[in-house]
Amino acid sequence: MRRVNKDQKVRISLTLNGRKMSAETEPRMLLSDFLRHSLGATGTHVGCEHGVCGCCTVQIDGTAVRSCLTLAMQAEDRAVTTVESLAGPGGTLNKLQQAFRNHHALQCGFCTPGILMSFTDFLARNPKPTEEELRDVLGGHICRCTGYAGIMAALKEAAGLTNTNEPTGAKS
C-alpha cells in the first residue's frame, strides 16, 4: 500500500461511477467527505460518522461499505459507485428505485441512498433472497421517517417476492 506523510497533501485518484476523478486532500480525509466535498457527489449522505446508521453506504469494487469508516486513500485506484449511478438514461428509475417509489419507502430521503447502495450489492449477490435476509440487511440502516414498512414492501418487490401489482403503493 502507498505510504504517505500525514502532514502532506496527497492526490487521490479513483473511478467514481465510471469516470476517473482525482483531487488533492489530506491523508486523513474520510471517503464520505472526499466524495461530497472534493468530488461534489453529494448524493451520499453522512448521518452518524460512527458506522451505525448506514446513510453513507457506497460501493467499492461492487461491495457495499460505510464511506464514513473508510479513508479516501483506501479507495485509491478503485471503482466507487454511489447513488448517482443508479438511474438510467434520462433519469429513468431502475427496478429498485421504482419499487421504493411504488411503496412510499422514503419520506425525507436522507437515509435512502445508503439503503439503495446496500441492496444494489446484496441483490446482485443474492438474487433470490428470503424476507428474513432482506430484513437482516436492512437492519444495518436507520430510517427515522417511514417505520420501515414501505421499505420492506419495496425490497420484497425488487427481490421478486411479491407481485408488482399488489396494491400497497402509489397510483399515478
Partner: protein, 800 residues
Amino acid sequence: MSKRLGTSVARKEDPALLSGHGRYADDLPVPAGTLHAHVIRSPHPHADIVSIDAAEALAKDGVWAVITGDDVRKISDPFLVALKAPIHQWSLAVERVRFVGEPVALVVAENRYLAEDAAELVQIEYTPLEAIIDPVAACKPSAPILHAEANTNEVSVRKFQYGDTKSAFEKADKVVKLTVDFHRLSFTPMECFVAVASYNPANDSYDCMANFQGPFSTHPVMARALRVPGPKMRLRIPPDSGGSFGIKLSVFPYVVLAALASKITGRPVKWVEDRAEHLLAASSGPNRVTEIEAAVTKDGKILGLRMDQLEDYGAFLRAPMPGPLYRMHGAVTGGYDVANIDVINRVVLTNKMPASLIRGFGGPQLYLALERLVQRIAIELGLDHLDVIRRNLVPPEKFPYHAAAGSLYDSGDYPRAVETAIGGGRLDHLKKRRDEARKAGRKYGIGFAVVVEPAMSNMGYLSTLLTPEARDKAGPKNGATSMVTVNLDPLGAVSVTADVTVQGQGHETVLAQIVAEQLGLTPHDIDVTLEMDTAKDQWSIAAGTYSCRFTPGTAVAAHMAAGQIAAKLKGIAAKQLNVLPDDVELVGGKIRSRSNPDNAVSFSRIAGTSHWSPVMLPDGMAPVISETGVWNPPELAPPSGDDRINTSFTYGFVFDMCGIEIDPVTYQVKVDRYVSMHDAGKILNPMIADGQICGAFAQGIAAALYEEFVTNEEGAFLTGTFADYLVPTVSEIPPVELLHMESPSPFTPLGAKGLAEGNCMSVPACIANAIADALGVKDVQLPATPRRIHALMAQHGGVR
C-alpha cells in the same frame, strides 16, 4: 371534477431523492471564502467558566477566530422567551455552563478538520458546581439554583380550574391516583443541523441558510438576538431536509452563532453539526412528572380530574417553550367527557440539555398519564378497561364539542371508532392469544389507548402560561395564518410556493393535487417549490412544518389560492367564450362552457392572457399572474378570561389496541399484535397518510421500548452514540394494522385534519397499559427495557 384528492398519487419528490439529486443544506454551494466552524462544548453539567485561553489555537495557520461568550454578549442580546423570567441564554455560554454539551466557544478556521484540530489547543478552566438533575429535587429549597436571578428552578407555576372539581371529588365513590414519569428522548433526524451565515457590514444585515423547520415565530427571536430588524435577518431554508420531527427548530441558536461569527471574522461561516453533538446537545423532548387523580363513580364514570404536571426543560427555556406543557392544554381531558378538572402546570429547570419541540409535542406526556389512569380506574373498581373507556368517551351527539379547558373538538364518532377497531374479531383474537399464553404460564397483556390528536396550533396557546391580567397587558395572541401562492407563467404553466418547510411529508405532492383539482389539471402539471426565503416568500409567525399544521392550514390556503385563480380565469374565459362566468368550468386542461363543452379554449391560453394581453381582460380585472391564499380560521380565539383556550384547530381521533408478551428469557416486551384506528377527517393522499402514521408508530414504539436520553445523578450524559441511544431498526418495529374512518372537519373546506403525531402519543400509553396488564403492576416506567421489566418482575415475584 377530477379525482386527484383522496387518491394515492405517487410522490413528486421521489425521483430526485432516489437518484442523489436531493438538495439538503450541506449539499448547497456556499460563497467563496466561507470559513468553517467547530463548537467547543462544556464537559461539565454545571460550572463557572474561569478562563478561556485561545492563544495557541489562534497561532495555527488557517485559524481565524476563537469566539467566546464574552464576544457574543457584546454584539448580541439573549434570546427572547415567552416566560418573563431572568433566564438569559446567548448562543454561547456566558460566565457559566449549565449542561454537558453547552456551547462554550466557537473555533472558526479555513476548514472543519483544522477547526477541530485547533479546538484541542483551546484551554478552558472551569470551577465545577453542584448539578441538579432530578426535576422533583430541583424544586426543593436546598437545590442548587441554575439561574441566580430567577431565585428558583421552578420558574413558572400556574393553577387552572374548570368546572367544580372540588364537588366532583366530594361526590365520588372512589378516588384513583397515579404518578407517571415520562422520560427524555429525541427522534434524531438522520440529517443533523446545518447553518451558514454571511454578514454584510454595508447595511448591517445577515444572510443565513439553515435547515430550520419553524415555527417562524422564532425568526423575530433570531433577529432580536442579532439586534437587527427582521428584514435584515434573511433566512433561507433548503429545498430538502433530512427529517426533523420538531428537532430542527433548535438549530436557531446556531444560526445566530454563525451570523455572529461572520460579523466577527468578516467572512461567511458554515457550521455542520455532527451526530455526537446532536445526541449530546441538540434538543430533547421534556421529561414530565404527572400526579393525576380521578374522582369516579363505582361504575367507572369520571366526575372530575386533578393533574399536577411538573415539566423539566433542562438548563434554559428556549422559544417557544414551555410549549409541550401548554399545547395540549385545551384538550387536557383527551377523548373523555369530563366537565370538572383542575390542572397545575409547573416548569422546572435542571442541568440537562434544553428541551424543545418534538413530534407529539406534549401529547405523549399527557396521554401516558391520562390513559394509565383510566386503566387504573378499571383495576381499582374491578371493571373492564374497555368498559371504563366506553363510559367516558365524548358522545357523538355533542360535536362540535367544547372540552372543559377550552378546546373545540370539530368532529368525530369516538364510540364507533372504538367498536370498529375491536370488531372484526380483532379483540377476540387478542383475548384468545392472552388466555392461551397465560394458561401456559407466560406473561401476556392487552392494552388500549384513546387519543384526541390536535393539529395546527393556535398561536395564542402559549399565552395561557401568563395570567389573564398579564395577557391583557401584553395584548391578545391568537389565530394561525397559512399562506400559499399560485403563479401563472407566460405559457400558462402553474407553479406554487407555500409557507412550509420540507422534511419529507410529501407536501409537494399534496399541494400539486389540491391545486390541480381546482384548475382542472393533473398534479404532474403543477410545479411546487418549497425552499423558503424569508426575504421573498410569503410567511407569518405560524409558518413552518410542525404540530400537523399542513393539512388544516397550508393545504386550505392552497385550495383558496387555486380557487381564486380559477374564479378569475373563468371570468377571462367567459369573455372569450362569450358565455357567463357561471357557465365556465376548468376540466382536463381546458376551460369550457358547461352547457356547451365544445365551446372551449385551452387552459394555457387563458392562463397566459394576463402576461400577453392584459388590456383584453374583463372590465376592472387586475392581471391574474399570482394569487395568494391566506387562511386564518376564526375558531382559534385567544385564551378567555377564565383561561379556556382552543389550543388547536382540528382534532382527530386515534384508538389503539395491542397485545404484548414478555419474553421469559430476555425480559423483552414483544408486541404480538398492534391495531391502530384513525379518524383524521378527509384523507388527501392515503399512501402519504399511512406513511406518516407508520412513521409516528415506529417513533411511538421507540419511545415505549428503546429510546432514552440518560443523565446520571452527577450530570454525566450517558447516551452520546447510536450504540448507547437505541434507535430501532427494522427488526424492532412490529407490524401495525391501520384502520381508518372519516369524520370530515366542518371547519375547513377540505374537511381534512392532521394525522402525523397521533401514534407518537398513543403508542407509549398503549404499550404501558399492556405491560401493566401483563404483569399486574401499577407503575410502568418507559422505555420498558429488559432491565426495567426484569426489575419489575423481580419486585413482584415474577422472575423465575
